[in-house]
Amino acid sequence: MIPLSHFMLISAGLFCIGLYAVLTKRNAIQILIGIEFMINAAILNFVAFGKFDKFEGGGQMFALFAIVLAAAGVAVALAIILNVYKHFKTIDPAKIDTLKD
């Protein structure tokens, strides 16, 4: 039986690694990976708490929904990244500073 706080500590570490990637990386794909880390940390917390919710299963159900939403988000984000690359010839977020033209 693993104590709940150990799940939470690992998830906190993963979240902060994702935060670091989002704040410092200069490449849109790596920033997307950072966001995935943060979402996965949240899912780990959902699942760890869902262990204590046998009948309603809220933790596991919303972990499933979060995985699906993350996958949909990645699909749209990668399509946007490809378009941005076509337009600006770079995917460094610091250099992309106009909305159109």
Partner: protein, 177 residues
């Protein structure tokens, strides 16, 4: 230390180390493939939280869908992109330092919060509502999807269709007319 704890901490360490490598390594292809390792070890940790179905979904959707999509986007963008990636050698920037400080400060905040909370004393965790090792969680998930969580389920399906249409619209070739 029994084998269960040993395997759990092994996968926990693997998760954190591979995640650190993903954000610190320079080569983007390597970091995407290391992301595989993080995803699989996270799936192993979901198994330890007795959520087998979530673990399988994680492997199918992330390893099968998201990562392939990322590699695909990466390969579609051409060589100049690769050249831009290796230009991160210009020392330790202030930007990195500030980001590192924010991330470490946030980690400190969460960890102190977790340590100072007396988690085994939270009342709703003691209600004897715990999933046992022989419970059929997949059965429960199936029933819950169609009864209690039918509204979020329908919303997710509409959202998925919107995301599908949106991604196809964004990725289409523009007509030069």
């Amino acid at each position: 230390m029994n084998p269960e704890q040993l395997i759990f901490y092994f996968f926990g360490a693997l998760t954190l180390i591979s995640a650190l490598l993903v954000v610190s390594i320079r080569n983007l292809v390597r970091s995407i493939f290391l992301f595989f390792v993080t995803i699989f070890s996270l799936a192993a940790m979901f198994v330890f939280a007795l959520a087998d179905f979530i673990a399988v979904t994680q492997v199918v959707i992330y390893a099968g869908g998201v990562l392939v999509l990322m590699l695909f986007a990466f390969m579609l963008s051409n060589r100049e992109l690769l050249k831009g990636l290796q230009s991160t050698k210009d020392g330790f920037k202030l930007n990195h330092f500030a980001g590192l400080m924010i991330a470490l400060g946030f980690l400190f905040l969460i960890v102190t919060a977790i340590i100072n909370t007396d988690i085994p004393e939270v009342t709703w965790l003691k209600e004897n509502n715990i999933i046992g090792q022989n419970d059929n969680t997949i059965h429960q998930i199936g029933i819950n999807t169609m009864t209690r969580y039918i509204l979020p389920f329908e919303m997710v399906s509409v959202f998925l269709m919107m995301a599908l249409i949106g991604a196809a619209h964004l990725a289409r070739k523009e007509k030069r007319s």
